[in-house]
């Protein structure tokens, strides 16, 4: 399907050097089994799953090793290959916090043995029950492979419940250097389309738009070929402009709609999924393989043979680099993700995770733009030139945000809508004063969050205190009320008795109590007499 499609523009954006060619010359390689895997237990947005294995356990390939509780946001985890669990302890993970987290160290036996852990292959998904498909998506540990690692089941399930109009497939891949989606589309277009068809079956949207930046003509052609016979699927070759692969930006480009501040795509009747996630969905359902591997780009002038590798989750970066020919002398920075939004890693012992789309090993010089003699120049004061504002895809005023952040006037920063900042790095990229704006904004965001938490806490304790005071007052009032009623009742009784006494003229002749006593006495007497008589007659 290549109907004339109208595209909208989002504000700003930049054209960094894309460096895609380096890693697209070679086909996707399959990594030979590494000796060990380091599998972080939490690789997704949400809660920490519950471990199902312990140290010393033997696990099969595809065996579930960590599970989510029902109704919790999160995802399950499977052993990527067979072997023995050597340890479960803290290890460095690829996370911006640079903190360590709990990881399963799995020593592989080289058998790559599924045991009986492979899931049932659902070849004919078109005839399959939706509940079963959803269950599979949940059990296969699928998360968004674009980088955010949001649990796919939660996203799909809420879309099924609410119903959507448009399914957007994000294949823009706008970050420089990264080509894993590009190669995936070139080589496995049919699998991707099958994955998309599964989503279409589940959601029954009116249309499905696949957004691919037009710097990937091979991928566009492959997907177009594969989707030819499906009317709902439409391939959209969008202009190359960073960050068109941002979910909100892509939705704007393809549909002209803006996801509201603080809202999600579903509010507009749109579900957006990454193209690699669709392929993983295909694998999970049609092949019965949970998410245990993904395609990752190893690139940059710091590796000898930049390429894309299909590797097991948990493979240490050093193994991936070895597969890409090893380091060159220029290896100065190790970045997970791209040069605009990636995070640097301090060592290559770190494992790849479900969210790892690229490892970029590069010299600092190559990361700077070519011909840039001044790029290494020191930071200068902001001259309010407004280049950042022109580049900002969120339509913010980075120059003002920076000004107020510097003054630590976080209230003003919040007023300037810092929470809409997606940290895409465009402002930083264009700044002629070379101010690390995104770093300032991250700092401001964390400060604002801290302040909000503090405010929340003090609000809560104020509420608690107020409730305590209220309760004390209420109890006192209740006590007083009770006491008053009691007193009143007593007084009434007394008054009634006094009135009665007065009415009976002080005598108790008709007093029922006295009569009763008399009657009882008479009964006792009669009984006594009767007993005595019995005793006598018995003798």
């Amino acid at each position: 399907m290549s109907k004339e499609q109208k595209y909208w523009k989002f504000h700003g954006g930049v054209h960094p050097e894309f460096h895609k060619k380096e890693s697209t010359t070679r086909p996707i390689a399959t990594l030979k089994l590494p000796k060990r895997l380091i599998i972080p237990i939490q690789q997704h947005i949400g809660a920490i799953p519950e471990l199902l294995v312990k140290k010393g356990d033997y696990v099969f390939k595809g065996q579930m090793i960590a599970q989510m509780h029902k109704d919790q946001l999160g995802s399950t985890l499977h052993a990527p290959s067979s072997g023995t669990i050597a340890s479960i302890e803290k290890h460095s993970i690829p996370h911006p916090s640079t903190l360590e987290d709990l990881c399963i160290e799995l020593i592989l036996d080289g058998q790559d043995d599924w045991g009986d852990c492979q899931l049932e292959a659902i070849k004919d998904f078109e005839q399959c029950d939706n509940t079963k498909l959803l269950e599979r998506i949940e059990n296969a540990g699928l998360v968004g492979l674009g980088g955010a690692a949001f649990p796919s089941f939660v996203k799909v399930n809420s879309s099924v419940k609410q119903g959507i109009e448009t399914l957007v497939i994000n294949a823009a891949e706008c970050e420089p250097y990264i080509t894993c989606d590009d190669l995936l589309m070139r080589e496995r277009a049919d699998e991707i389309i099958d994955g998309i068809r599964i989503l279409i079956k589940l959601l029954n949207p009116k249309q499905c738009l696949i957004g691919i930046e037009d710097n990937k003509p091979e991928a566009i052609a492959a997907i177009q070929q594969a989707s030819k016979s499906f009317d709902k699927i439409q391939v959209c070759a969008i202009p190359t402009l960073y960050p068109s692969g941002g979910e909100k930006q892509l939705i704007k480009i393809l549909t002209g709609k803006e996801v509201a501040v603080g809202g999600i795509a579903l509010d507009l009747g749109i579900l957006c999924h990454n193209v690699a996630t669709c392929c993983a969905m295909y694998k999970a359902i049609v092949k019965g393989e949970p998410l245990i591997s993904r395609i990752v780009t190893i690139t940059g002038d710091g590796v000898k043979q930049p390429k894309n590798i299909e590797a097991l989750i948990g493979t240490p970066v050093s193994d991936l680099v070895a597969q890409a020919g090893g380091y060159t002398s220029k290896a100065q920075r190790l970045i997970m993700g791209g040069p605009m939004m990636g995070i640097t890693l301090s060592n290559d012992n770190t494992p790849m995770v479900k969210a790892s789309n690229c490892f970029l090993v590069a010299s600092t010089a190559s990361l700077q733009q070519a011909h840039s003699i001044h790029a290494s120049q020191a930071q200068m004061p902001c001259i309010r030139c407004g280049k950042c504002m022109q580049a900002c895809p969120a339509k913010l005023l980075p120059q003002q945000l920076y000004w107020h952040t510097q003054a630590k006037d976080f209230e003003r920063v919040a007023e300037h809508k810092l929470n809409s900042c997606i940290e895409c790095g465009c402002c930083d990229f264009v700044c002629p004063s070379h101010i690390p704006l995104v770093s300032y904004f991250r700092f401001a965001k964390s400060e604002i969050r801290a302040q909000e938490k503090l405010l929340e806490k003090s609000n809560l304790s104020r509420k608690r205190h107020e409730f305590l005071e209220f309760r004390k007052a209420r109890e006192k009032q209740e006590r007083d009320e009770k006491r008053r009623k009691h007193k009143e009742a007593l007084q009434k009784k007394k008054a009634a008795m006094a009135a009665k006494k007065a009415a009976n003229g002080g005598t108790s002749a008709n007093d029922p109590k006295a009569d009763a006593i008399k009657a009882a006495l008479a009964r006792v007497k009669a009984k006594k007499i009767a007993r005595e008589a019995q005793v006598k007659s018995g003798h």
């Binding site: 290559d348 990361l367 120049q377 200068m380 005023l397």
Partner: protein
């Protein structure tokens, strides 16, 4: 293997402040060339002297403020300030005029407020404003353009005049004869004298729409400004809104009373209108920075230029209009924040 860590993004652009400032200087070249053609060596002496003085003040200020000297000296911002300032000073003005003006521009307006990027007011205009208030005589004596009497002092003579005063060569009457008010001033005086604008245009030695020299100078600034727009150094909003507002105001008043109000073309091509629109009001540090704010800022300057030129007592109005609006920038910026992506289109309360 261990790696250094850092925070994204890791890649950056090629532009820097120095390159921006250099482009501004290049864009001034046509204007400077035309001014040199009409007013002779005094123009270049002003510029060179201003650059030397400005850089000296810059170095001293940086040194006193214990700031690194090299990066700030090589950012060309002081050179741009010096050039813009020099172009507003009459050629052959005494050297100390430049000295006093640049002291206020660089030391007071720029460094006392925190240096590059922190000055709320346009430094060159502060220098100019101080001078026009303090030394109105020296600041209004523009030498006659060379086509008027065909004579301009030579380089040596010019240097003598600048450093030792015109008295070296001329007596006061001769000097008075050599200098004249700018067309802006001249028209104002003539209008006050009861002449009609159309009459003035015909009887005075003017060009097509304004002073013979000034319309060419303005045109060359316009060309330089368009080049800056083309290069993306400045944004269209401030210059366009400024020129539009000035032209519209002039047109409206001209329509009400054409005889006593100069035409809009006269306003656009007189005095510092073009220099102000493209080079001074667009100084990013002291200008409004939001899209809507820039429109308002530019239009207000254009309006004030007309008001001060028409009813004020000063020969030109760009400096004061720019300074007035500089003051309002924080407020303008606050109230003209653009709608962020995904925000409701309703007006914010």
């Amino acid at each position: 293997m261990e790696f250094e860590t850092d925070s994204s993004p890791f890649t950056g652009s090629t532009s820097n402040i120095a390159s921006i400032m250099r482009q501004v200087l290049y864009a001034l070249i046509p204007g400077i060339a035309v001014m040199f053609f009409f007013y002779g060596w005094g123009v270049l002496i002003n510029i060179i002297l201003a650059i030397v003085i400005a850089l000296s003040f810059e170095v001293i200020s940086l040194w006193l403020r214990k700031r690194p000297i090299k990066p700030f000296l090589s950012d060309y911002s002081a050179v741009v300030t010096a050039c813009l300032f020099a172009l507003t000073i009459p050629p052959l003005a005494p050297w100390w005029i430049l000295m006093v003006g640049l002291f206020f521009a660089i030391v007071i307006a720029k460094h006392l407020y925190g240096g590059l990027g922190y000055n709320p007011f346009n430094p060159a205009m502060i220098g100019f404003a101080v001078l026009i208030v303090s030394f109105p005589l020296q600041m209004t004596q523009w030498i006659q353009p060379h086509f008027m009497d065909g004579y301009l002092p030579s380089l040596l003579e010019s240097l003598h005049i600048v450093f030792n005063g015109f008295e070296v060569f001329y007596n006061l009457d001769q000097w008075d004869a050599m200098t004249m008010a700018t067309p802006l001033d001249d028209v104002k005086i003539e209008l006050k004298a009861g002449h009609y604008f159309s009459e003035i245009m015909q009887t005075r030695p003017y060009g097509l729409v304004s002073g013979k020299a000034w319309e060419w100078i303005s045109l060359s600034y316009l060309i330089g400004g368009l080049w800056l727009l083309y290069k993306g150094i400045i944004n269209w909003r401030i210059p366009v809104s400024l020129l539009f507002a000035l032209a519209m105001t002039a047109t409206i008043f001209g329509w009400i009373e054409p005889d006593t109000h100069p035409s809009s073309l006269f306003h656009l091509f007189s005095g510092a209108t073009m220099l102000g629109a493209f080079f001074i009001a667009t100084d990013p540090v002291s200008a409004s920075t939001t899209p809507r704010g820039q429109l308002f800022y530019g239009a207000s300057i254009g309006f004030f230029i007309y008001v001060i030129r028409t009813w004020g007592n000063y020969p030109d109005a760009v400096a004061f209009s720019v300074l007035i609006m500089n003051m309002s920038v924080p407020m303008i910026d606050y109230f003209t924040q653009p709608r962020v992506f995904g925000a409701k289109s309703e007006k914010k309360s």
